[in-house]
């Protein structure tokens, strides 16, 4: 089974599976939770020595790596918990206010 849950917010009560049972494993990939974040991790590439400890600790697998190097934070899923910043031995990750981070991007 593969559900299209892109429009789940509009489903009527008749469309949901009884008992809220999810029979489509892994569909949390379609369920973006980054909007919960109030703090955004910012990595200082100058200080980071690519130890990948943050990658291992991230409870949401929201830190992406390629070729044993951190590439980016997946902001669709990063909830801003700050575990990466706490665990970083180099203090290379700073948690900044999400709204200020958004303003900075804009």
């Amino acid at each position: 089974m593969s559900w299209d849950i892109s429009n789940i917010g509009q489903w009527t009560w008749k469309e949901h599976p009884p008992g809220a049972v999810i029979k489509d494993p892994g569909n949390s990939r379609q369920f973006k939770t980054g909007g919960w974040r109030t703090l955004r991790p910012i990595r200082d590439e100058e200080i980071c020595n690519q130890c990948l400890i943050c990658y291992m600790f991230c409870p949401d697998s929201a830190i992406k790596a390629a070729g044993e190097k951190i590439t980016t934070f997946d902001l669709d899923f990063c909830k801003g918990c700050g575990i990466c910043a706490e665990e970083c031995p180099q203090n290379a990750i700073e948690m900044v206010d999400e709204s200020k981070a958004q303003e900075a991007v804009e």
Binding site: I8, W11, P18, G19, A20, V21, I22, P25, F31, G35
Partner: protein, 399 residues
């Protein structure tokens, strides 16, 4: 119609339910084995120990855990049961909502006993009435026979694809649970065929089709939609309860509906009652009818969902109705739970009877025939005069 072979037995209500559980042979029973547990689980444990069932019996450290284990077992695709009573049901509280919210079929006989304080272990309906809005189907029994019959039917009702809700089978503490009663039991093979094999919608143990059960409803919020589905399942349950009751009747000669009416066609007033008191009320109603008094009665079997349409049809022609409630809602003069429901159901009826409520039997206070006669006589006066003097009455209270 061929009625299935049966055996006449003398059993306590608890033994009758334990026998039903043995014949159902569920995959798992989880139960707290100490008081307020009753002999239902004690008797069933013996069947397990004697190898008479295939059930995996889980003795847990509280009723909270018993219901949790049942939720786990049902999620794993098993046919699960437990039994409880009184404070035990109260301790299951938050899990009752999870079992119904996850739409997990299961059957739980509950021996109706009151809730403290003051400390009291005797019969009233306060325990299950407190769980009135937990999304469980409530089936009341009049005697050991009905407790047995309801337990068997509850399996079919609970597992019906249009229902998929947990069911409580209710039997009055001590009056049914601990009294020896004559009853007919079915052959094991007949029960096996009647309850059939449980076909779960999903199973956590099915590794080929993994499922996620009990997920967070999301910040978008789908909770409201799932609650509406539960209400729909309750609405579907009316027909399922009737269909299963009819099929059971064809099998045993004991058909069941949502309630049982007696003498209503030519009655001018009637008593509505739940549980074991129905027997005593029927006796008094028969006596009064033999003296030409136009009284009838309804023994309500299905309390949740509440069969409002059928009840309206049954009572709207009456001049007066007395609802007997073995629990109170403490709503400050609104009366007991059956009274408030029936009164609410009749609101839109063009024709409706005057209604009085008799709260009786709290904490096991006896309901002798004399008290029923007192209430019936007062009800006759209400019907004749068209006046309700006292809407909420306490029958057997020292006042």
């Amino acid at each position: 119609m061929v009625i299935a072979k049966s055996n006449t037995l003398a059993l306590q209500g608890t033994e009758a339910v334990a026998l039903a559980m043995k014949q159902i042979n569920p995959d798992m029973v989880a139960a707290y084995p100490i008081t307020p547990q009753t002999e239902i689980v004690q008797g069933f444990s013996q069947f397990v120990a004697d190898g008479e069932v295939d059930t995996h019996l889980v003795n847990v450290e509280s009723e909270h855990s018993a219901m949790s284990a049942c939720i786990g077992g049902a999620s794993a695709g098993g046919r699960v049961m437990t039994a409880t009573s009184s404070q035990g049901l109260a301790l299951m509280w938050e899990l009752l909502y999870i079992a119904s919210g996850l739409r997990l079929p299961m059957v739980m006989p509950n021996v109706n006993r009151t809730l403290s304080a003051p400390i009291n272990i005797h019969c009233d309906h306060s325990d299950s009435m407190g769980a009135r809005d937990a999304g469980w189907i409530h089936l009341f029994s009049e005697n050991a026979q009905e407790a047995y019959d309801n337990t068997l039917q509850a399996v079919r009702i609970s597992e019906h694809p249009q229902v998929r809700l947990p069911v409580m089978v209710l039997l009055d503490g001590f009056i049914i649970s601990h009294s020896l009663d004559r009853m007919e039991s079915l052959e094991d093979s007949t029960v096996k065929e009647f309850v059939d094999v449980f076909k779960p919608e999903f199973s956590l143990l099915d590794a080929k089709t993994p499922t996620c059960i009990g997920a967070f409803d999301g910040l978008y919020g789908y909770f409201f939609e799932f609650k509406r589905q539960q209400e729909e399942a309750m609405r579907n349950a009316f027909q399922v309860v009737k269909d299963v009751g009819k099929e059971y009747g064809e099998l045993t000669g004991r058909p069941y509906g949502v309630f049982e009416a007696f003498g209503l066609e030519d009655a001018e007033f009637a008593i509505i009652v739940l549980g074991s008191a129905a027997g005593t009320v029927r006796h008094e109603v028969e006596c009064m009818r033999s003296r030409g008094i136009p009284i009838g009665m309804i023994k309500l079997r299905l309390f949740r969902p509440f069969p409002a349409n059928e009840l309206i049809e049954a009572v709207s022609h009456l001049k007066a109705v007395a609802v007997f409630d073995r629990s109170d809602t403490f709503a400050g003069g609104m009366g007991g739970p059956v009274f408030t429901d029936l009164r609410s159901a009749l609101y839109e009826s063009e024709k409706k009877p005057l209604m009085v409520n008799y709260i009786y039997g709290l904490g096991g206070r006896d309901l002798p025939v004399e008290l029923i006669n007192k209430a019936a006589t007062e009800l006759e006066q209400v019907a004749q005069s068209g006046q309700v003097k006292e809407k909420i009455n306490y029958l057997g209270l020292k006042e």
